[in-house]
Symmetry: D2
Subunit: 295 residues, 4 copies
């Protein structure tokens, strides 16, 4: 009996590249977690054990480090574009390369009110900036920018009422609740010409935050829609934006057994289970079954 090789890809995941610019006494740092992979005609490697077409994952790692020096890291996107090009060139059997970058943010330590030249403190920790570049041999590369782990909370301005009720429904309407999530957002660029990637990223992130803050929420779904619409409205270079939002439930604690009222002041922050809401907002309807995470 004979079988067929289906979809496949391979690469090096989580190469931790730290790039320091030290041309002047005022150093700059970019701290990346780089994952690369290749797709293409690698049937021989699987079926016959023939590795002659395989650009090894070790070489992919070496290239990730070398390119941090050779082209530098002006932004995760620019670095990923260059690295993805190189991998396609180096591996003739590949039909597409994929470079995924997570960036951890650092800010200068303040000493006497001034940012220090060469000492940094990690900003955030759960929040990570992301970029994915997919390059096929022909055509424009697909560039998806984003972030994950942006944890936000509203202590009012959110309700959840009027939902479907049936046999297994016990939830009561909530007229005023805490809404919190650890937001993942990814946006695909329609055009990349002349884009300042760092500035563009900061601007889209701020649009999401402001929309989260200022939109009265009748469901997390509505909040995602509001954020997505705001991003498309304000940023013409964005073609579509995809959200994944775990609902970090904050339950009002019943303090009546202790003779205490609790008008939305004391909450239990629960771990599991959690609602998980995923949605995309686009400029116009088109076919795209995959979530960006699978790009």
């Amino acid at each position: 009996m004979s079988f067929v090789l289906g979809p496949n890809r391979y690469g090096k995941a989580e190469t931790r590249v730290v790039r320091v610019r030290r041309d002047t006494a005022r150093h700059e740092v970019r701290d990346l977690n780089v994952s690369t992979s290749l797709r293409g005609d690698f049937t021989a490697a699987h079926v016959e054990g023939d590795q002659s077409n395989v650009l090894t994952t070790d070489t992919q790692k070496n290239t990730a480090f070398a390119y941090a020096k050779r082209v530098g890291v002006s932004s995760p996107e620019a670095y990923a574009l260059a690295l993805g090009d190189r991998l396609l060139t180096a591996a003739p059997a590949a039909t597409a390369s994929r470079v995924q970058v997570e960036e951890y943010a650092w800010e200068r330590v303040e000493v006497d009110g001034t940012g220090h030249d060469h000492t940094f403190v990690r900003r955030g920790g759960e929040e990570v900036r992301t970029a994915v570049v997919v390059r096929e041999r022909d055509g424009e590369p697909t560039v998806v920018s984003g972030f994950t782990g942006l944890v936000v909370m509203k202590t009012t301005g959110s309700q959840f009422t009027g939902f479907l009720r049936e046999d297994y429904t016990t939830l009561q309407d909530a007229e005023d609740r805490v809404l919190a999530t650890s937001l993942t957002a990814r946006w695909r660029h329609a055009t990349t010409d002349g884009l300042d990637w760092d500035a563009a990223h900061a601007a889209v992130r701020q649009t999401c935050l402001a929309a989260f803050a200022t939109t009265y929420s009748r469901a997390l779904q509505e909040t995602l829609w509001a954020m997505g619409s705001a991003v498309l409205e304000a940023h013409p270079h964005v073609a579509e934006v995809d959200f994944s939002a775990p609902n970090r439930h904050h339950f009002v604690v019943d303090l009546t057994p202790f003779g205490l009222e609790n008008p939305g002041e004391v909450f239990h922050a629960a771990d599991r289970p959690y609602g998980l809401i995923e949605a995309r907002v686009q400029r116009e309807a088109h076919e795209c079954r995959e979530h960006f995470g699978e790009l």
Copy 2:
């Protein structure tokens, strides 16, 4: 300006359902982590904040618990099929339900050589059995069984040689190496009629283990192919099988500075970066861009 709602889904993730059968003194335990979601016409919930079509994630959670009692848990797959049906019935606006189950295995504590009636110890920990059932309103449900975190290692019987060399290649040929991975496998069922889900799962898992053990490996890719082919060969009910295999690198430690030889005896088990190999083996070629993980 107006925009369009793209792909979306919502549900309750990670409901931790533990089901005890105690009809006799000899108890049985099934320990599940259940995630459910719905797709369909939920535009009003997003765009207008109208929740009247929304089967809440809280209700989905209640249903997951109630069905553990009502239909029981004879297997993750059977439970997921019943739960997915119910969710579709309860939510008329949904066009599809998805139920994902992770199962944690327990075995009886041995006392005086006999398994105890009601005391159990977690077997494995990293290894988790998985099942995903996707049900659309029409047609047969898609059932994907699998496991994740099956950590395996060969201390010999593996090489990696003859690969592509170019400017950034420094890796040397390895004629005899340690091969280790934390294997994820998922297989889609062509037919489910009369299947004993627990027995079928154990059998496919054993086929993977035996193929890993007995195949001489010229690359992790070849090992995945060997496992996939063996599964299709031995299990006619499997239509295709998908693997994700992070290469857990074991580097030979250089002990020569200390006057010691190291013929493959002392290794450093590295964390990151790691090779990541993903491949699917099918009975015949067909279109399926998505990895099962995205089903």
Copy 3:
């Protein structure tokens, strides 16, 4: 044969208490992870199964929530002092209570340059503020403030040379290296009278950061000493300060095989193994074998 009950304690760990102050439209949030425990004469509970002296862990949890309302959370320390008192009162068999609080920081989302009234974003994620209060029936409570997960890095101003060399030493002198750590610090208060806990915490943290930045480092040990001395110098209310500092190694990547120089510009950030340096700085020598973590 009969045996003896040795040291023991019990309590409720990781109660996730979120306290919102909403007296005005400008809300305030304190987000805590609270663990409480009791020590004392609980022999009957262990040896005879008699729970009549046991203040249950469930009651401890209830009290943690109720006290977030009753006394509020002006600071982790003030809240822990009140809660620890209550637990001792409620459990006559206890000789000591211990309350450990982790606090997650939130800051206001900026909208049009102003902090929003009721929308917050998690600041940090890895960094957590800590407080431990141990209260015995007699005497003053011990209050230890601190933080964990403060990730800092210097890209120059650090060396490591002149160390002991013997048979198993291969490390070369490093004249200029990256120094990075995820710092844990804990300081015991000599006096607590009139202390503004939040301001005092911010001040000690800033002293640590400034000392890390401005001290030329000949070893991580020396940096810990410098930080500890600076804290004791600047903050008379601190009796002693304890550090735990995993050395997050940044290895210079060898790019010479690719014809590239790398004068401290491209690093591999390694996970494991890592150096782990622990030290305490005190005002004067005294007996104290335990690390504060065990308080």
Copy 4:
């Protein structure tokens, strides 16, 4: 102003040593996570930046690898004893060495009913065998064996009733409940002469499991006492045994809103908060404030 260096120690944490014995075709594997540290007179390193007495953490790592070859790994304890001796010898300024080993268990993959010669599967994952050896310059080394992450559950044979009730108590008596924990145990050896470390470890672990299974539990405290007493009774070489047991709460789900009874059949396995019970059982009363974890 001048200050004093208090307690301090330093070393290399989490060196991942994998040792393969391949003298015959039937390979053996020991998979270790090794952490070493030194205490002693290291004031100069801290205060003056003088590293001449410092056995670097890099050298400690090298020694951990070299000793896996030189003396082998017949057991974690034997390996740790040898490595601790060497570190004391190599670092004259140290007064004590500490070697902590975690071991991950592997078992042979079964092929056609027989264990394979060189292919292994990770057994457990959460469960880890532990050993700590502390060696001072004089006297016998302290050897503490143990395990962590042994997850056990009883579906009956456990109650919790008759506890203290006061203002904040809402918990109801439970006459029949699920009792589950992720057990950590550590036992100090009174004598080590002629001990077969692997056999002794397996025997103590089995004593704990059997006591957990066969003891009717009126509280987790009583179960710890029963396990500890059983260990001291059956294993004369054990001087004392220390337990840490997070109570993995399984809450009975209220199914009455759905017209279903739930006589202890469907549970919600909760994450946080959790009870945490810690206790030691000794042959006779003596001073020992520290938990073994701090050794």
